[in-house]
């Protein structure tokens, strides 16, 4: 039996051939090393994301999240729900808090769920993978399966918004959370504590609708990583990863910069540190190759 078991909520972007598919690949490898068993919530659906507010409204958004809770509660009783995507975690946890706090909302939500023969009774904790790693394993526990050091690589820990606000990781500050730096250091990498755009917003969904405004944010995030001496950016959020990596070429084209900064997930770093191959870590999913990590993986 696995050391820990969770009801897994991978989210739309983690699916096969979706924009964060390499997040899922590396998460699976990381969890294998830590002896974590992730069981997908049966037939899970989209959380609606933050930007769903405009057309989705309040109750429909909460109801679709409750559908996932009901599925987890029924099919994976007693297991915490774990999301890897910041927006999934936020959307789900926010819905759960609203439902916990209002009997009226719970009643209306169950009225909606009943249309599909489902019922939610208020169980199933909603957590982020980083919370699980830090709270259920701890930095020492995470270090235990380590086989290779990430020594010699300088990382800018880009925490971003939604893994950090409004919930964040327990005990961390909103303005300067340290957990990502601590994770980097746990695996022998150099965490650049002087990286000053750690919690800056990448623009989120507005990268599509307001590209210029978002690319200004992204430019700051990447430029500051260079200024701090970083060789790579590491992040816990799939939208941060995509926006910050994908638009570098656009910014180069429009603004004459020469950005070429790899943007990784913590799970990719950990997979390599646990002795996994570049493929296990999903490094073939990078648009900007992380050559130094590939080299460590090949050793």
């Amino acid at each position: 039996m696995a050391k820990k078991e969770y009801a897994f909520y991978p989210g739309c972007s983690s699916q096969l051939k979706a924009s964060a598919s390499n997040y899922l690949v590396s998460t699976n490898a990381m969890c294998k090393s830590l002896d974590i068993k992730l069981t997908e919530i049966p037939d899970w659906n989209c959380c609606g994301a933050s930007v769903g507010y405009c057309e989705g409204g309040e109750l429909p958004r909460i109801a679709i999240n409750a559908r996932n809770f009901a599925q987890a509660e029924t099919h994976l009783p007693g297991q915490d729900i774990v999301a890897t995507c910041a927006a999934c975690w936020l959307g789900a946890r926010e819905s759960k808090e609203r439902l916990d706090g209002s009997a009226q909302l719970m009643k209306e939500t169950n009225e909606a769920l009943a249309a599909a023969g489902l019922h939610y009774s208020g169980g199933a904790n909603v957590r982020h993978m980083v919370e699980v790693l830090i709270e259920d394993f701890g930095y020492d526990g995470l270090k235990a399966p380590m086989k290779k050091s990430l020594e010699g690589i300088k990382f800018a820990g880009y925490v971003g918004c939604q893994t950090n606000r409004p919930f964040g990781i327990d005990g961390e500050s909103f303005e300067n959370p340290l957990y990502l730096d601590k994770m980097v250091e746990t695996f022998g990498g150099e965490a650049l504590t002087g990286y000053d755009q750690k919690v800056t917003c990448c623009g989120g969904a507005l990268a599509f609708s307001e590209p210029e405004k978002s690319q200004k944010q992204i430019r700051d995030i990447v430029e500051s990583a260079y200024d701090a001496g970083a060789e790579m950016i590491v992040t816990p959020c799939p939208l941060c990863q995509a926006n910050v990596e994908v638009y570098q070429s656009e910014i180069n084209k429009k603004q004459g910069t020469k950005f070429n900064m790899p943007v990784l997930y913590y799970s990719q770093l950990m997979t390599i540190a646990y002795g996994g191959s570049a493929r296990d870590a999903g490094l073939n999913g990078q648009l900007i190759r992380a050559e130094k990590l590939e080299k460590i993986a090949g050793k």
Binding site: V51, E55, I64, S209
Partner: protein, 207 residues
């Protein structure tokens, strides 16, 4: 939609604050604002919008219904939650902005052609169509929102990124034929329809 708007005007007369409290997500917290302006200074898109949350809250109390519901400010929200964690009165500002945007959108008073209003609508409709987001059709529909010519131009501008994502196995052209989705789509749609029915009735969108 104008009927829903008219009945709201008649019902609340000159008390816009009351209307917001009753119909806008977390709207009951608006009156807690003490006008300190921390939200305005914390917003990553602070210089892009006409009215900061602080101003919006005061305008609500001053009964500036047309100005608030016609403002593009709420659509500048990136959902970064900086304003929420910094607000000394603990107003759920992000949620109120989302709620106001939704209310203005549903009453059809929100600015027409506002890019985030359009993208947000596209996103929700894309996500609920099959229960999971289809990133390919979402992106294509967004690029082609202004018609074929501008769409081709915009898509061509992004083609190197698209190719890169495809080669990295992070974009699947086959998604044009459907892509990922939930199995119990009928049940999923029934949940949303019921939830929408309850909400529309409560908030007067059905008029």
């Amino acid at each position: 939609m104008t009927t829903a708007n008219q009945s709201a005007i008649e019902r609340y007369r000159n008390n816009f604050l009351k209307e917001v409290e009753a119909n806008v997500e977390e709207g009951h917290m608006v009156k807690m604002c003490m006008q300190c302006g921390v939200c305005a200074g914390s917003c990553p898109l602070g210089n892009a919008w006409e009215h900061s949350p602080q101003k919006i809250f005061m305008m609500i109390r001053a009964g500036k219904r047309d100005e608030v519901l016609g403002s593009d400010s709420m659509f500048m929200c990136t959902s970064c939650y900086n304003c929420i964690v910094r607000c000394p009165r603990q107003l759920p500002i992000t949620h109120i902005m989302h709620g106001l945007a939704n209310y203005a959108h549903r009453l059809n008073l929100a600015p027409k052609g506002q890019p985030t209003r359009d993208f947000a609508t596209l996103f929700w409709n894309n996500a609920i169509k099959k229960g999971r987001v289809n990133e390919l059709t979402l992106t294509l529909r967004h690029y082609f929102r202004g018609g074929l010519v501008s769409g081709i131009k915009e898509a061509l501008g992004m083609q190197s990124i698209g190719l890169g994502l495809f080669l990295a196995k992070r974009l699947n052209p086959m998604e044009i034929f459907g892509g990922h989705g939930v199995k119990d789509l009928k049940g999923f749609h029934a949940i949303i329809a019921k939830a929408k029915e309850i909400e529309d009735r409560k908030k007067g969108f059905t008029a």
